[in-house]
Symmetry: D2
Subunit: 333 residues, 4 copies
Amino acid sequence: MENINEIDKIKTRVVGIDIREARTTYAVVNIRGEILGQDHFCTSDYPDITSYVTELCDRVQAMIEEYGGYETVRSVGISVPSGNYLTGCIEHAANLQWKGIIPLAAMLQDRLGLAVALANDAHITALGEKAFGSAHGMKDFVVVSISHGGVGSCIFTNGLPHLGVNGFAGEVGHTCVEVGGRQCGCGRRGCLETYISDRGLIMTAEQMIAESHEPTLLSELEELTPRTIIECCDKGDRVAINTMAEVGRMLGIGLANYASLLNPEAIILTGDMMQAGKWLLKPMRQSFDAHVFHNIRGSVRILVSILKEGERDVLGASALAWDVKEYSLFKDS
Amino acid sequence: MENINEIDKIKTRVVGIDIREARTTYAVVNIRGEILGQDHFCTSDYPDITSYVTELCDRVQAMIEEYGGYETVRSVGISVPSGNYLTGCIEHAANLQWKGIIPLAAMLQDRLGLAVALANDAHITALGEKAFGSAHGMKDFVVVSISHGGVGSCIFTNGLPHLGVNGFAGEVGHTCVEVGGRQCGCGRRGCLETYISDRGLIMTAEQMIAESHEPTLLSELEELTPRTIIECCDKGDRVAINTMAEVGRMLGIGLANYASLLNPEAIILTGDMMQAGKWLLKPMRQSFDAHVFHNIRGSVRILVSILKEGERDVLGASALAWDVKEYSLFKDS
Amino acid sequence: MENINEIDKIKTRVVGIDIREARTTYAVVNIRGEILGQDHFCTSDYPDITSYVTELCDRVQAMIEEYGGYETVRSVGISVPSGNYLTGCIEHAANLQWKGIIPLAAMLQDRLGLAVALANDAHITALGEKAFGSAHGMKDFVVVSISHGGVGSCIFTNGLPHLGVNGFAGEVGHTCVEVGGRQCGCGRRGCLETYISDRGLIMTAEQMIAESHEPTLLSELEELTPRTIIECCDKGDRVAINTMAEVGRMLGIGLANYASLLNPEAIILTGDMMQAGKWLLKPMRQSFDAHVFHNIRGSVRILVSILKEGERDVLGASALAWDVKEYSLFKDS
Amino acid sequence: MENINEIDKIKTRVVGIDIREARTTYAVVNIRGEILGQDHFCTSDYPDITSYVTELCDRVQAMIEEYGGYETVRSVGISVPSGNYLTGCIEHAANLQWKGIIPLAAMLQDRLGLAVALANDAHITALGEKAFGSAHGMKDFVVVSISHGGVGSCIFTNGLPHLGVNGFAGEVGHTCVEVGGRQCGCGRRGCLETYISDRGLIMTAEQMIAESHEPTLLSELEELTPRTIIECCDKGDRVAINTMAEVGRMLGIGLANYASLLNPEAIILTGDMMQAGKWLLKPMRQSFDAHVFHNIRGSVRILVSILKEGERDVLGASALAWDVKEYSLFKDS
């Protein structure tokens, strides 16, 4: 409409940024979750946070110019490990090279002249699932992400993320399921993470191999990884299958505890380990049903994310960008 | 993923239905607001509500079968004049042929075996704007829809629709702006609607013609309608322009009252009259600024909907469908 | 319990402060709204904000010491005209001697070492009504306060105050009910306030006296005030009764507009003018019923505050104090 | 004010009912939590639910008449084991004599002609703590109640109870803390409840006695109960102290898991076992600090309820009564 400039204009795009240990992905995304442009670069090339921010902002600005310019871009959302939504800072990230507390949201807002919001990867994954994935339309759910580093999760209650009073809620990986159990990297014993993370899987595989009296393909592998273990499952290897079943059993207990406390509509699982499919999920579900409090049994849906791994967190970051109040140094003309 | 059937499946589509006096439009829409299929039929062909429901359900079922079947469809959302979200009923619709209270949501839920939610057109329009339009990312806003029948509106506060204790909030068309002013169809005098609806516009045009001392194209028109009046504005006709300016002035007062009470982030306007563009919007904005309380002036954005007229309410109805709890007679197999 | 000091202690008291043009009242209040101690001093004795803050803090500290000490006091809440909850500042108060923007919450927090929250008087009145008065148990309601200075109001939706995007919502006194009507102090014409505030009442009385053909006690009064006019009503003076009825009629229109927009459960009225009782309220109710949109008529309760004038805002300020996050310079020992 | 009857009246009282296995307590409570009248009778005298409801309603009606009559009473709130707020029913209560699903709220609403809400005891306890106790002013907290029957809890997020999608959230007693641990009455193993309930305490005491090489007062007790064990602690008995410390250790683990998931502002403890004071709470706190995720450590307050045992749930039930929409068969006259 030619006369639309008589009144205020609306911005229909945001920038979503997904920062991981190895790679930073950034994209311009519209209201409906269409990725108009996407690119990435190597996070670890920038051990200094200032030079990293410079590189990131240069790239984001160039992409904004390419896709409609500042008049069309509303705000920026960031997914980053140990990101605290309440402070806008990365706080003591174990797996990133930048140590201490880094006010990343403020740094980007200064450089880009746009509103910037930041959250940790589990929170962003849950936002992505709510906006565009399996949790769309749900109000009370939990998203659990199992990755190399560990296990993260995010709780939604009444349609909103429950971040906790300091923004640290969701540490399901560090709930104790076995008093005096396996030693965890966090210094405690019996944390769920020690049984169900990638490392937990491998440790269980090693125990299974050692205790097994039957031959197993696992013992011939060059390296025990989730991928190689899953391959052995697919070949019908009993020990591999039992390994994955044991991880599923522990995952089922952890999820049952979660469900007994929260009675969510659904638990949504993400992470590479979901590739194990039935080898993991069937025993997980049996264990879940055996351990969840009986009045909840049968009412909690357990779902695997339907979003693409390479897109989920960029989309989730774009959803966060919409949640922040608009702010722009660039006046509407 | 081949093993996904070990755990619960997710449904990624809903049905959106937009019922208007003349035409009923229905569509299958996915999570991201993509309309996969859309069709319509003539509402007024079915003066009997039962036969109307039969026709509608037959058509919706056929479309569901065509687009993936019941396993992929989660729920149904309906936009209908005088629809009450809290009761699921059409309640005494002035402009529909079905009189009294009609439990339409329940009737469709019975026939379709799916969860059904229903709301009035202003509520649905606002949901559409929030999900896919100008209000995306906003928490406190108002959507005002000006149509032939009258003026509807819907308030969002803190990210949620404010429907009022009986579901009747938003009757901005029947707020009094002129004590003892124009007679309204509702029986009272001075209602905003009598000045800014299509009928109000025409009445103002007639007054302007009668009082005008200069010749005007308006007096040569076969029929005074928003469209013909706007055409005269575009041709530079002074009386037509003054007519539209007067409507803009009254609209500005009505919106200023709204803004003084609610201090919203934005007011979003929809309806055919927005086609008047600057002839309406410029005087509206001037009047708004003159009448809004001074500490709010300059902080309220006034926006025109960016969604297509033919899609907005089907999309809004799909957004409502996601808001209702899932329910299905059709078991996941 | 002797061992309670093994775990954290709870604080069961707050300070509520009510700042008005003439008088500042402050009190220590417990969880249940019992006023343990209350005192006041003359606001206008301190034209300089720094000396005012010093006096206020000295007095509050002394009262805290008297009633259990800092270990028992959790936080402070303040009611002040033109107070903005979102910023913690007094912003351009027309009726206070301190001009411009005054960061009062921060100033008190620094001096007292306690969390401090601040809000305008209409917001505080509504909090008081919700915590301890007529709105207890309600989620959607409006509180309208009519005072000498003007007309304030506060909206609650879904159990929470709707302050608007800048904290300025509720300016019902400056909604236009008569295009081109009475001149308002705000520079516009036809504001509701010009008809229903104390000043509006007096102007209406003057008009009624001038236009009246019958003798009236009003013309013998030394001064026209709400009180003297009400006294004449009580004596049966026709012109006084008509004056109050006319104010009631305009109030009814203003409240009807409010109700047509928000469909609240109740509208609660406070302020000295409520002393007029039936002379005001009966015509107000008739006018309200005549002007509110028909589907809402009969469903909105109109209530007069049941709290004592001298306690309402100190109690409301105490309720605000509970709403702010606890913070204390004083460590639990 | 004589004219107040020109407008609507407000009701300032509610009825709170606390139903337990042995005793039913009921009270008339005002807005500020003052108990105006309170009485009780023996629950177990009425094995038939209909006669129980008759007795309860007769008594409540008599008390209403005594304290101001129906014009002053707004609604009724009920605390009952296995009460489901979402359905208004008692659902399969293990410890009550009435079996199956009992629509108690509807039964009372019919008889009393007032709005009735019902919730389980853990929910009610948390409401009581929020309205009048340690959680006043908090938005994110957990209340854990340890009683003879077991362990209940209720979560508040963002100021509202998180009941879960079926109303069953909070089953902390049945989270697994020891894979393959103690047998629980629910059929599973390792539930927290088997270690920290009264029965869990006694089992731990028996184990400690059996394993102990030193003499202990515990072995001379006629009956092992929380009370007698605490008495032995107070006398300095080593085995009793170790018993209580072991229960505290397990409680600390359970609360640490809760806190790692939810990062609440506080956890509030209620129940007779809190009488153990430092014998329980000191080891609990040590265990909590050792097991909670490190970034949360130090930020979660652990509090013991400050409300009187005999009043907490009647007050909590009164708070629930305010939360339900008003409804009355008795017209305002």
